[in-house]
């Protein structure tokens, strides 16, 4: 589902200000950004430029201080705390730099986790989680625990978990940051394959090598979009 303008995400004049001990930090200032369905967007920039803050707002993990955020044409910047998890669960898939797999759950249970919060049947969850794991080539490790996997394998599981709920967009925050270059390449190839299969992707990275995988790159500096290519 998209908006009438055909945009999946639209940010207008989004700002984010953190206030700590009388110090105001402007993490984002007047950001305008649109993401279309099937697009592979990259948000690049140096450390501390506001990339992750932007991704948090897009992923409904945080709300903007001002401005408008429309997801599939619906204003979501003012959603109540009760509505946010549900929308996040259905529309957004996260891939984190630190993988963020739960150590007490098996690979299969980690992938199944977003579906358990939707209250769908066990058989359906099993079918979808197995399918997602097969898609990233991790079906054979379903009973393992995250600590029994390499970094690259953990990131593949994280991708499977992001995919399993069939979200509208995948948000990847420095997905190669904890991987060596070989595993980093593999992870990016996997994301490219997903994009080619129709997924909408938003990648945050400071590494120009990986930014090249995207169709479009926006450069962020001190919370402001300074370039778009």
């Amino acid at each position: 589902m998209t908006s009438e303008s055909g945009e999946l995400i639209r940010l207008e004049s989004v700002s984010k200000v953190f206030v700590t001990d009388e110090v105001e930090t402007h993490a984002l200032a007047n950001v305008h950004l649109a993401v279309h369905p099937g697009e592979f967007l990259c948000v690049a920039g140096p450390s501390g430029c506001g990339k992750s803050t932007l991704l948090s707002i897009m992923g409904l993990l945080d709300s903007p201080t001002s401005g408008s955020y429309r997801l599939q044409g619906r204003e979501v910047s003012t959603l109540s705390p009760r509505e946010r998890p549900r929308l996040r669960n259905h529309q957004i898939g996260f891939i984190f730099q630190a993988f963020n797999l739960i150590g007490d759950l098996t690979v299969y249970e980690n992938v199944e986790l977003p579906l358990t919060y939707r209250g769908i049947s066990s058989a359906e969850r099993k079918r979808r989680a197995t399918e997602a794991l097969e898609k990233v080539g991790m079906g054979h490790r379903r009973s393992h625990y995250p600590t029994q996997l390499s970094g690259g394998q953990q990131q593949r599981v994280a991708v499977a978990r992001a995919l399993v709920g069939e979200p509208a967009i995948l948000l990847a925050d420095e997905p190669t940051g904890n991987l060596d270059s070989q595993n980093g390449e593999q992870a990016m190839n996997l994301l490219r394959d997903l994009h080619q299969a129709g997924a909408t992707l938003c990648l945050v990275t400071h590494d120009p090598r990986y930014a090249q995988y995207a169709e479009r790159t926006v450069q962020l500096f001190d919370g402001v979009i300074v370039d778009e290519a």
Binding site: L61, P85, R88, N100, Y117, S121
Partner: protein, 835 residues
């Protein structure tokens, strides 16, 4: 979307599946953290176990209704004297109520009575009761074997009959059903056993044998020979009644009062009494209620400390699992869903703790029933019954929610974007650190209150032990000899027996002196009388305070080493033909003859009459006070008279319970066999019971106080240990959080001692704060102990100081362990850790 809706499970499954998933994950989480799980389960088990064990006493003693059908309709009827309080009921009153009161379905009278059962091996002494035949009907209980009493069996001339308790039937008659219908000798009189009551029945508590009045017991139990029982106003019965449905106890009381007031011939001192109707045995329960409630309050504090500990552990664990919670929230788990999962974990933890606590409670309840002081009613019936299990389950749920809620709510409120990034946010643990410190302060405060409570009771017990009882209990052997009334119907026959027993006992090698007393001066019951004084030729009025009456043999004061303060004690001059004499104690002399002129005065104890004429006795000596009933209470006035000069029916009944006291040169118990043989050489059918040293009897006087002090001491130890665990946990956690800082300090020159002080100081600051808060608790709560203390103020500075010192010592130990570990850190390794 359609596919998802089709795949949605049924409503029940929808509800149960996430729960099952939460339980499965909770179990896995607990198993993967064995140290955390074992520590938390042990904390909870100790708290819940102690709480459940003491609650089972509360339930059994204070809450459980009498085990009879519709027991809410059973009431005790008593008389209340404006001066002396509650009294018994006379036959005249009982008979008038039974005939005229319409509020009751039935009324029954009863009185304790001791029985000697002979003809089957060694003579058996049994504590039983004389009951009106209606008793079992009023209670709604039928015999398990045979029949109950017939109404006609309370009338004079009926063949003697008796009913056995199940315990007596099982233990002494080998559960032989043929005993019903056989004839045994009870108190020397052939008596037919007509029934056996069911297992567990024992009314009044502990009674093992029942007989109707007018057989086996002196006829004057209902009325003296030839007298109409309707004119007998001696109040020695207890009365229980069953109200008709819909009748309130107050209505019945008013009716009983009206019947009483219009009864003809009520003596003047009886007429001033009022009637009370209340829950049966309420006064017995009332006496122990404060002790039990204090114990229960204490175990609730211990449980709170245990819960605070588990909250602390869970908060620490929640810190460790913050990233997991963040991931769950990021993936779409709502806040409530996360709270529910964490509550599932905490309730599961509580149930595991409750399971282990239940085993501990079973053990504790068995110990309480076995070693609990016997003056607590129904203590032997304390058990873990379904109600207790329900309570236990409720406590588990409540504690699970109590200690789980705060960590759960905390965990569900996290900054997702911060926690999902690489590395730990700088703010991590700050808030929980403050909460955990507050919890430790509360734990220390509660532990101090419990420790001071225990200290006060221990100090009180010590003071009681130091009370001079007024005699020397060491090297004294004591035993009870119950005389069957038919064989010893008069004071003269008893006096002959006592002479024989004393002669033979004194001849036992190792016995230095022997004497007899009725009743026993220590640990038994008292016979309270009112006496008349005669000054010159003027008959005095009744004295203002009741006096203890005791019949004794010559040598009684010497055997117990009760000092003569003035005048003389009894000797061979005081025979049956000599002028009647009495010895009184110091309290009596002081109260009634404050001028110090008691010697030579004449008194007449109410019991003491010969052929209906009062016997005036000359006071020939004053002896020291003996605190033989309750060392905490001031001694009562006491009159002692020589056996040889005792006359009259009522004195005879007192003398039928003899206590033989032997002063020995060696271990008193080594002479027990010889002493029994000496008694049986005088009469081989005399039952001998309660063979003990006087030291054992004296120890029994303080059994409850000792038990209370021990139990509270145990709970205080538990509270201190739990508080120490909490202090240890918080100090260790704080030290771990400051590892990087400690590395920097070491790098710039801090020595290990400085690091040790740095870490320990934080823990001890919490202890200090907890101690101050605890003092406020001590000042407000220990007042509740006032009624349980003897010679100690509820704010006794020594008890508070000792408790504070112990708490400080345990806390210092708990702080030092993590501090020492921190002081041994490798600075380079510490610096490599995240700041």
């Amino acid at each position: 979307m359609r596919r998802e809706e089709e795949a949605r499970p049924s409503r029940l499954k929808e509800m149960l599946h996430p729960l099952a998933q939460d339980v499965r994950f909770a179990l896995r989480m607990l198993m993967k953290r064995p140290v955390f799980t074992i520590t938390a389960v042990l904390c909870l088990a100790l708290g819940i176990g102690a709480n459940t064990a003491i609650f089972s006493v509360v339930e059994s003693v204070l809450l459980r209704p009498l085990p009879y059908p519709h027991s809410d309709r059973l009431v005790d009827l008593t008389t209340v004297d404006p001066k002396y309080g509650k009294n018994g009921v006379s036959p005249a009153q009982f008979l008038a109520w039974r005939e005229q009161c319409r509020s009751f379905e039935g009324l029954a009278a009863w009185n304790w009575q001791n029985f000697t059962v002979t003809g089957r091996g060694e003579p058996l002494w049994v504590r039983g009761a004389v009951v009106s035949p209606s008793l079992f009907g009023v209670l709604g209980v039928s015999p398990a074997l045979g029949r109950g009493f017939l109404p006609s069996e309370e009338r004079p001339g009926h063949a003697p009959v008796a009913i056995l308790s199940w315990r007596l039937f099982r233990n002494d008659f080998a559960s032989d059903a043929k005993v019903v219908g056989t004839t045994l000798k009870l108190n020397g009189i052939p008596t037919m056993i007509v029934g056996v009551m069911p297992s567990g029945f024992g009314f009044p508590e502990g009674a093992a044998l029942w007989v109707p009045p007018e057989n086996l017991v002196p006829r004057w139990l209902f009325a003296p020979p030839g007298e109409d029982p309707r004119t007998n106003w001696m109040e020695y019965f207890s009365v229980i009644g069953r109200l008709k449905p819909g009748v309130a106890a107050g209505e019945a009381r008013a009716e009983a009062q009206a019947v009483f007031q219009r009864s003809p011939g009520v003596p003047g001192d009886v007429a001033r009494q009022t009637i009370a109707a209340g829950v049966p045995f309420a006064s017995l329960v009332q006496k122990v209620r404060p002790t039990i409630l204090v114990l229960y309050g204490t175990v609730c504090l211990v449980l709170l400390i245990a819960c605070a500990n588990v909250v602390n552990l869970l908060l620490a664990l929640a810190e460790e699992r913050r990233r997991e919670f963040a991931v769950r929230l990021a993936l779409g788990a709502g806040r409530w869903r996360l709270v529910r999962q964490l509550l599932t974990e905490s309730v599961l933890l509580a149930l595991l703790g409750g399971g282990l606590g239940c085993l501990m409670a079973l053990w504790g309840v068995a110990a309480l029933a076995h070693w609990g002081p016997q003056d607590i009613p129904r203590i032997t019936q304390v058990s873990v019954n379904p109600w207790i299990l329900l309570y236990l389950f409720g406590v588990c749920l409540a504690t699970g929610l109590l200690f789980g809620l705060l960590p759960a709510l905390r965990s569900s409120r996290i900054d997702l974007s911060e926690w999902l990034k690489e590395g730990t946010p700088a703010s991590a643990g700050r808030h929980t650190g403050a909460t955990r410190s507050a919890l430790v302060i509360a734990e220390v405060a509660l532990a101090l209150v419990v420790a001071v409570e225990a200290g006060l009771l221990a100090a009180s017990f010590r003071r009681l032990q130091e009370v001079h009882l007024g005699f020397d209990p060491s090297h004294v052997l004591s035993m009870r000899i119950s005389l069957p009334p038919p064989a010893y119907p008069s004071a003269e026959t008893i006096a002959g027996l006592t002479r024989q027993i004393l002669e033979r006992a004194r001849a036992i090698p190792g016995v230095q002196a022997a004497s007899l007393a009725s009743p026993m001066p220590v640990g038994g019951w008292v016979i309270a009388v009112n006496s008349l004084m005669k000054t010159g030729n003027v008959l005095g009025k009744g004295m203002q305070q009741m006096q203890i009456f005791r019949a004794v043999s010559p040598g009684y004061f010497q055997v117990l080493r009760i000092p003569a303060v003035k005048g003389r004690v009894f000797d061979d001059r005081d025979g049956s033909g000599a002028p009647p004499v009495a010895v009184i104690n110091e309290t009596m002399a002081r109260q009634f003859w404050p001028g110090g002129n008691a010697i030579g005065q004449l008194i007449c104890p109410a019991f003491d009459n010969h052929n209906g004429h009062p016997v005036y006795r000359e006071i020939v000596g004053i002896v020291g006070d003996v605190r033989g009933i309750d060392p905490a209470r001031e001694p009562m006035p006491e009159i002692d008279v020589p056996y040889a000069q005792c006359r009259g029916r009522r004195v005879t009944s007192v003398m039928q319970g003899l206590w033989l006291n032997l002063r020995t040169g060696s271990d008193p118990l080594s002479l027990a066999r010889a002493a029994k043989a000496a008694v049986w050489s005088a009469d081989k059918e005399l039952p001998i019971t309660d063979v003990k040293t006087m030291d054992q009897i004296v120890a029994g006087l303080l059994a409850r106080q000792r038990f209370d002090a021990l139990l509270l001491g145990l709970f205080a130890l538990l509270a201190l240990l739990l508080a120490a665990l909490g202090i240890y946990g918080v100090t260790a956690y704080s030290a771990a959080q400051r590892t990087h800082e400690i590395g920097i300090r070491m790098a710039v020159g801090a020595d290990p001692a400085g690091i040790l002080r740095l870490v320990a100081r934080r823990g001890m600051a919490l202890v200090l704060a907890g101690g101050c808060l605890g003092l406020i608790g001590v000042f407000s709560l220990t007042r509740l102990l006032r009624g349980l203390l003897y010679g100690v103020s509820p704010l006794d500075p020594v008890a508070i100081a000792i408790a504070g010192f112990l708490l400080a010592a345990v806390s210092l130990l708990a702080c030092t362990m993590p501090a020492r570990r921190a002081a041994r850190l490798d600075p380079m390794a510490a610096l490599r850790r995240d700041g």
